[in-house]
């Protein structure tokens, strides 16, 4: 299934918690039910950002490993 992406965010090299702050700001610019694409570094970002998204009710729809990064598709709550 392909998700229509409303916004894309490259968070390569952006550490916690700033990466989540930027993710939240990007989510604020799209509508509920729309999809945000986020590129995250491996390690802490991949553990922390999805957990914070879950805490705020958003849903990670797909995770695609890309070398040392992960592309996430998030559906806004």
């Amino acid at each position: 299934m392909d998700f229509p992406i409303s916004k894309s965010l490259d968070l390569s090299g952006v550490t916690c918690p700033l990466n989540f702050v930027k993710t939240k700001a990007a989510l604020a610019q799209i509508q509920s039910g729309e999809y945000l694409e986020v590129l995250l570094d491996e390690g802490e970002p991949l553990l922390n950002v999805p957990r914070s998204l879950k805490d705020e009710g958003h849903t990670v729809m797909r995770v695609t490993p890309q070398d040392t990064r992960f592309k996430l598709i998030v559906r806004k709550a």
Binding site: L47, P50, K54, T59, M61, R62, V63, F70, I73
Partner: protein, 288 residues
């Protein structure tokens, strides 16, 4: 000045310094937990009897150094009068180390504080062939380094996957630190041999399709740092009954008393006798 029996004093946390004119007073805490009233007492006694210095020990204890030999007994009495208890040194069961556990930490799976208090109440200060240490850690992140202790207790969560809400996003596969989760078409399976019981999959799964099947306790035996470092060996799989854990701990302590040689840490006892034999004898008659 009273005649001081240095060996006897050591048993009750009153330890002669390099400069023999001074003693360190070591206090007993369970899992590093104290409170503002006790800390005020410690501060006051350190100021009155020592030099105002306070040292935080490697095992979450408090030590008051530079208490002059002729004041050591008086200072100890003052601590005990205020309701504080002395720590231990030498060949006996030492203070229990623990992390904050489930009460405080978002990852904590077990109540480390109550376990630390119970182990402390039941075993602290008892004689053993060599020093003997308990460590309690809330989850497999192992912040309290349970497996460096003669007995380590670690919380663990055993996950299971339910297909109902799963969107097959694949986050679980990417975040599992042990690569224990495998996607097989539309299904996700757990490699039980590899699972660390860490709860990262259940905590992160966006749909709660990974959920708790069981949670409980993982026991390790024979861990030690020091001159001959050795990480603890897993004694069992995940134990779900805390009373079983306490019974096993009791058996482990008795076993070490019977089989350990003087100044031989439990890990070395295990290496001398063989892990399979020790494990077999400890687990004889136990089931969970």
């Amino acid at each position: 000045m009273p005649e001081l029996d240095v060996a006897e004093l050591k048993k009750v946390g009153t330890i002669q310094q390099r400069d023999k004119e001074y003693f360190v007073l070591r206090l007993r805490l369970a899992g590093g937990n104290t409170n503002s009233a006790d800390l005020r007492t410690v501060a006051e006694i350190a100021r009155k009897y020592g030099r105002g210095d306070i040292h935080l020990s490697t095992r979450q204890g408090i030590e008051i150094p530079y208490v002059p030999a002729d004041k050591a007994l008086e200072a100890r009495q003052a601590l005990e009068d205020a309701g504080l208890q002395m720590g231990a040194c030498g060949p006996r069961i030492r203070v229990v180390v623990a992390c904050q556990g489930r009460e405080i930490c978002k990852w904590g799976i077990i109540d480390t504080k109550s376990i630390a208090r119970r182990l402390d109440a039941e075993y602290f200060g008892q004689d053993t062939p060599h020093k003997f240490k308990f460590g309690v850690t809330g989850c497999p992140h192992n912040c309290a380094k349970a497996s460096e202790n003669d007995v380590g207790i670690m919380g663990g969560l055993y996950p299971e996957w339910q297909p109902d809400n799963c969107t097959r996003c694949g986050l679980c596969v990417s975040v599992c630190p042990a690569q224990a989760i495998i996607q097989d078409g539309a299904r996700f399976t757990l490699n039980e041999e590899k699972c660390l019981y860490c709860s990262i999959c259940t905590a992160l799964c966006p749909q709660n399709s990974w959920r708790r099947k069981a949670e409980g306790y993982l026991l390790t035996i024979g861990g030690t740092m020091g001159k001959q470092q050795r990480l603890g060996d897993k004694l069992t799989g995940l134990l779900t009954d805390l009373e079983t854990v306490y019974k096993l701990v009791q058996k482990i302590v008795e076993y070490y008393r019977q089989n350990g040689r003087k100044r031989e840490r439990f890990g070395q006892t295990i290496d001398r006798l063989g892990l399979a034999r020790v494990r077999g004898e400890l687990l004889d008659g136990f089931s969970d």
